[in-house]
């Protein structure tokens, strides 16, 4: 009745996993081997925890776990991957901005509008080739609460939301690394900026509206992350494991 066994099972999970269950957030920098342990712990969640309230956030399995797997392939065992994930969603009060009233006409009595800014994923990984990859995903959700009164005095409240998403990928190359402009330009929706210097920085940004579904989310993150890597041909004689 009080889910004691389930609670005890959750307390045996990896601490990062527990954070995702209890707080729905994680902010930690770990080497690939430790991330493997986190993913192994997350893999046991579905068979151990049946309570809906303690289910993992959807983006954990759809985005976080595959992204960890991908980054672990490119990070040397001694280097680290830092991930800050806030999977509480955009409806948390501290993510909401100031509200304002919009002009209305009958039968609408009032429209209150506010925006919520939800930077739910930030990743930093030191890659094998000496470059550093940083990814951020931010949702910006517009909420409109509409109050309507019909001729018979009946009140209706309705809240509408509209989300757009910004994905940025920034790769800081190691000093002296070759940079070559790709043969084809990126898609129009992708803005690319190359900042030459001692360590060249290549950044790519896209704004998606509406925000992609959970199934497409990983594909979009990886698609934006692709652009900085198109500027450097693969190393020819690098032996890595």
């Amino acid at each position: 009745m009080f889910w004691r066994k389930t609670r005890a099972a959750i307390e045996r999970f990896h601490p990062v996993h527990q954070g995702l269950v209890w707080q729905r957030t994680a902010s930690v920098t770990l080497p690939p081997a430790e991330w493997d342990a986190v993913v192994a712990s997350l893999a046991r969640h579905a068979e151990t925890v049946k309570r809906r309230k303690w289910r993992l956030p959807d983006r954990t399995v759809a985005v976080l776990v595959p992204l960890i797997r991908v980054l672990c392939e490119d990070v040397a065992p001694g280097d680290a991957i830092g991930i800050t994930a806030d999977l509480r969603g955009p409806q948390v009060p501290e993510k909401a901005g100031p509200s304002r009233q919009l002009p209305v006409r009958k039968p609408i009595r009032s429209i209150t509008e506010w925006f919520a800014l939800d930077p739910w994923l930030a990743v930093r990984a030191e890659l094998r080739d000496g470059s550093v990859l940083e990814l951020t995903v931010t949702d910006r959700v517009r909420y409109r609460k509409i109050h309507k009164v019909n001729p018979r005095g009946k009140h209706k409240h309705k809240t509408k939301s509209k989300a757009v998403q910004r994905i940025t990928a920034r790769r800081t190359l190691q000093p002296g690394q070759d940079v070559r402009r790709p043969d084809t330009p990126p898609p129009r929706t992708l803005a690319v900026r190359v900042k030459p210097g001692k360590r060249t920085v290549i950044s790519a940004t896209t704004k998606l509206g509406p925000a992609p579904t959970e199934q497409d989310q990983l594909q979009w993150v990886l698609a934006v992350a692709t652009e900085p890597f198109r500027w450097t041909p693969p190393a020819a004689e690098r032996r890595t494991a």
């Binding site: 993913v39 776990v65 595959p66 980054l71 043969d183 692709t226 190393a235 020819a236 032996r239 494991a241």
Partner: protein, 118 residues
Amino acid sequence: MNPCAVTTGFFVLGRCGRPSVTVCRCGRPVCARHVDPQGLCPECAAAQAYADPFHPGWARGYRRRYYEQSSGMYNDAVWYSWFDSYDRGQFDGGDGFDLGGYDGDGFDGDDGNDWVDS
């Protein structure tokens, strides 16, 4: 002893190069770290459908699909050919661990002698 010829990495491709302990059924020498319990290399093991991202070999199985998709999105055939030639190059024994079909100036095309598609 032959070095392990497994392709490593996702965005940053590389070759393992550790001493091999066995040879996969596809002909690639594989080291102890990359060999599957069934004696397969990661690509042959991933070909047995690791759809679950919780599986340690998922990223290696997803890698080719990612390169196909991103190459289509960017309309950049070179991006895919980099990966493809790199991946095929591991079957080219004695290539000195350079890129299989990539000579640095562009993709030199398929000579029709490759027997494997992945």
